[in-house]
């Protein structure tokens, strides 16, 4: 089987390259070089003129805010997307990867956040999937397991048995199996997209060790992470992307955490957000959590008062959405107490959430917020009809009012009855989701990424709506990855990290301070 890897033979030459030690001065030949790479989606430019050079035996950290273009860049390297401009050079000559498999076969492996493993198959069967060794036409199981075991041993992973069902491994071990699979393709470049995002603290050590071991064998590693600690622990070089632009590449030792965070954030959004009313004083406590937790989050204490906007900031996967899901009964809290308007509230299902006058505008409006093939009106009535049918008659009269006050595109009830939601723009779709919840007259509304993927005008409308709601005494819990939005809109900012509240900041705080708390740099 020619595809089988014998790492033992390959390593010495690559290690020699690194033997002169300081890789920056001796500059071995780069394995992968991107020049002027750019990418557009539907006319929106998401990456512009990116240069990136990876050297063997080095860990190159790629950092930036959510939406900076890191994922797109990784997908270009992985062969998922093709760059619109610029070139990818592998060992010198320019190459193209029509499919991810081509990239993999060329030695460029990518470990994405979603696992690309079959949970019901063994470690060995996963690692050599599509390349199973054969003997007389049958799969040579002895060799399959022997090869896998050797690969695991070589990487210091003797604790994982080759016949183990992948689904029974811990998340960290599964991540490691993915990396082992990449190594088995003789990968010389391995890029990892937030490999520690799903790992518990004590599991991270396993990954660190593997990354270092691979680096020492001369593999070039592109490491995407939000956690500054990890970047300084592992990276030789750091590249910062911001809004699709390449803003910095420097040796890790030369960029302090302060400068790094400042480079990642900081934009001018003055005048875009509606001002806070000067005389507003928050009223009584509408929603309170004390020590709330479940398998995903823990020790959550928070209060949202009438007329107040409290933001949950934090990185993707930090547990912000999970807190919202706990409040609304999607993944209920199993510990701690929750009160709504001062009354203890047991919210075990979303239906109970609605009955407690809670509302949750979900993160993904297409799959969780809307029945795309149904009319605007049907969508707007959905929650009312399903949960509060008796109140429906009285309140349904409000639907027209809510739709028109939100300036949803089909402005008459008749038009709202005829228009299917799927034909509306993203902004109008979001307004329909908002309308659906507003007609239930919620006392607490949770907005999860309410402005994601909508245009500037619609964003402004959402911000105005938030101000209107608070003026009417609604409590708003805002979850957002857009720091300018959080800073400008929230009265208080709770920063979530690793499923816990890492700290609280007043509204108007410095974005860098939020990032520092969110990444653990503070």
């Amino acid at each position: 089987m020619q595809l089988l890897v014998d790492i033992g033979q390959k390593v010495p030459t690559l290690v020699v390259m690194r033997a002169d030690d300081d890789a920056h001065t001796s500059s071995p030949d780069p394995v992968l070089r991107l020049r002027g790479v750019g990418k557009e989606f539907f006319g929106t430019s998401v990456l512009r003129e990116i240069d990136l050079t990876l050297y063997p035996g080095q860990v190159h950290a790629l950092v930036g805010e959510n939406g900076a273009g890191k994922s797109t860049l990784m997908k270009i390297i992985a062969g998922v997307h093709r760059p619109d401009t610029g070139t990818i050079e592998l060992d010198g000559p320019a190459v193209t990867f029509p499919t991810p498999l081509d990239a993999q076969r060329a030695g460029v492996a990518t470990v994405f956040q979603e696992f690309n493993l079959l949970p019901d198959r063994s470690v060995a069967e996963n690692v050599y999937l599509g390349r199973e060794p054969r003997r007389r036409g049958l799969v040579d199981r002895r060799r399959l397991h022997a090869d896998t075991t050797r690969l695991l041993d070589d990487l210091g992973l003797a604790g994982i048995a080759s016949w183990t069902r992948v689904g029974s491994l811990s998340v960290a071990q599964q991540q490691v199996v993915e990396i082992v699979k990449a190594v088995s393709y003789d990968a010389r470049i391995i890029s990892m997209d937030e490999p520690t995002a799903a790992l518990a603290d004590q599991e991270v050590a396993l990954l660190y060790e593997l990354v270092r071991r691979l680096r020492d064998r001369g593999v070039a590693i592109l490491y995407v992470s939000h956690r500054l600690q990890e970047i300084y622990d592992l990276a030789d070089t750091i590249t910062v992307l911001k809004d699709g632009n390449h803003v910095l590449t420097a040796p890790a030792a030369e960029v302090g955490p302060d400068r790094l965070v400042r480079t990642m954030v900081g934009r001018d959004f003055a005048g875009f957000f509606p001002d806070k009313p000067a005389d507003a004083v928050p009223g009584e406590v509408r929603l309170a959590l004390a020590g709330a937790g479940n398998t995903m989050v823990d020790d959550i204490d928070l209060e949202v008062r009438a007329g107040e906007i409290v933001a949950l900031a934090g990185l993707q996967g930090s547990g912000r959405t999970e807190i919202a899901h706990g409040v609304f009964g999607i993944a209920p809290f199993t510990r701690g107490r929750m009160t709504v308007d001062g009354q203890p509230a047991q919210v075990r299902t979303p239906r109970q959430g609605v009955r407690h006058h809670l509302a949750l505008v979900t993160e993904d409006r297409k799959s969780e917020g809307l029945a795309l093939g149904q009319s605007v009106l049907a969508n707007a009535r959905l929650v009312l009809d399903a949960v509060l049918p008796r109140a429906s008659d009285r309140r349904s009269r409000r639907i027209a009012g809510v739709l028109s006050s939100l300036e949803v595109a089909p402005s008459t009830v008749a038009a709202a009855q005829d228009t299917e939601v799927q034909y509306l723009s993203g902004g109008n779709q979001q307004k329909v989701v908002l309308a659906k919840w507003l007609v239930t007259e919620p006392r607490v509304i949770v907005l999860d990424e309410p402005t994601r993927g909508i245009d500037v005008g619609a964003k402004r409308a959402v911000y105005d709506l938030m101000r209107t709601l608070t003026a009417d005494g609604t409590a708003v819990l805002l979850i957002s990855s857009e720091l300018p939005e959080v800073v400008a809109m929230a009265d208080r900012i709770l920063v979530v990290r690793d499923g816990r509240i890492a700290g609280e900041l007043p509204g108007g705080s410095d974005e860098a301070a939020i990032m520092a708390l969110a990444t653990g740099a503070a």
Partner: protein
Amino acid sequence: MTISTGSTGSSSTAGTSSTAGTRRRYHLGSTEIVYLALIGILLVAGVLVAVQGGNLFAQQNISYMLTQTSLLGFVAVGQTLVVLCRSLDLSVGYVVALCSLIGATTMAGDPSRVWLGVVAALAVAAAVGLVNGLLISALRVNAFIATLGTGLIVKGFLDTRFKGPEGEVPLAFQTFGYTRIGPVPVSTIVMLLVAAAAFVLLTRTRAGYHMFAVGGNLDVARLSGVRTGRALVLAHVLCSLCAGVAGLLIAARFGTGNALVYSYGLDLDSIAAVVLGGTLLFGGRGSVVGTVGGVVILAVLDTAFNVLDVNPFFKDVLRGVIIIAAVALYARRQIDPASRRVRFGARGSVPRGSDAA
């Protein structure tokens, strides 16, 4: 076996301690559960029959049981391959009927044409499977619809072309239907050989490995270089071939081909047997050994109901209840443990290594 018991895999590496909430327990594999259920059903049925003064394990009952097993067995073994690929074949019942007719009419009572009849029937079966597989993999028609469609086409052909039993199977071939070795019919032995071949396919060949991969996660399979279309087409061709063999068995038993065989409900029974056998209806997990267990369970029930003289309509009610109960039982076990795993180490609730203190 292809299904490993959960306990084999729980070795943990140095860096990862098990979290507080997950207790390590011995988990039976699905296949073991199927056979435990079979033993349980045999005991209960045996006792019930004995109470009425009968003997479930009398030779004639055992023979009836095994005869039932072979017909559904062929179809269900083929269906297993398809279901493992996260597909489905609803055309098998019609293929069985078609092949019984093609076999019988080609043989036309002439012992020298037996092999010709066998080859013709299997060739037609393979062709139907090929069409099914291509519709699903190349044209991306939903498997349910594609195989329902080809099934209807075959049914229409049968209904217009054949008015009743047709063709004649020479005595030499009828032995396939009737001969027994002790209480064991030859057809059952052939069925077990086919099942063994499928077992080897799934556990010892790349094609089988790839069927598991295709059913487990199509994208993962494709990104790993598996030719997913090929695995799917192969599964469908083999499934239809198995149905073809079942058709030949019918012809051998009846001495003629018969279109009305499609009303036996082999299509849904085979899916029920596959699922009873512990194969996940969403593909990616399962085994032929389990399916054979599922087939035997259904045959035992059928035999017991016959001996106990249960009202035929109520028989179906009982079968339905048992199938649903079994699958509900599996569903409780098959909730992916990974999805329940603690995502963030809740500090304090997680026992740390002693060095942390």
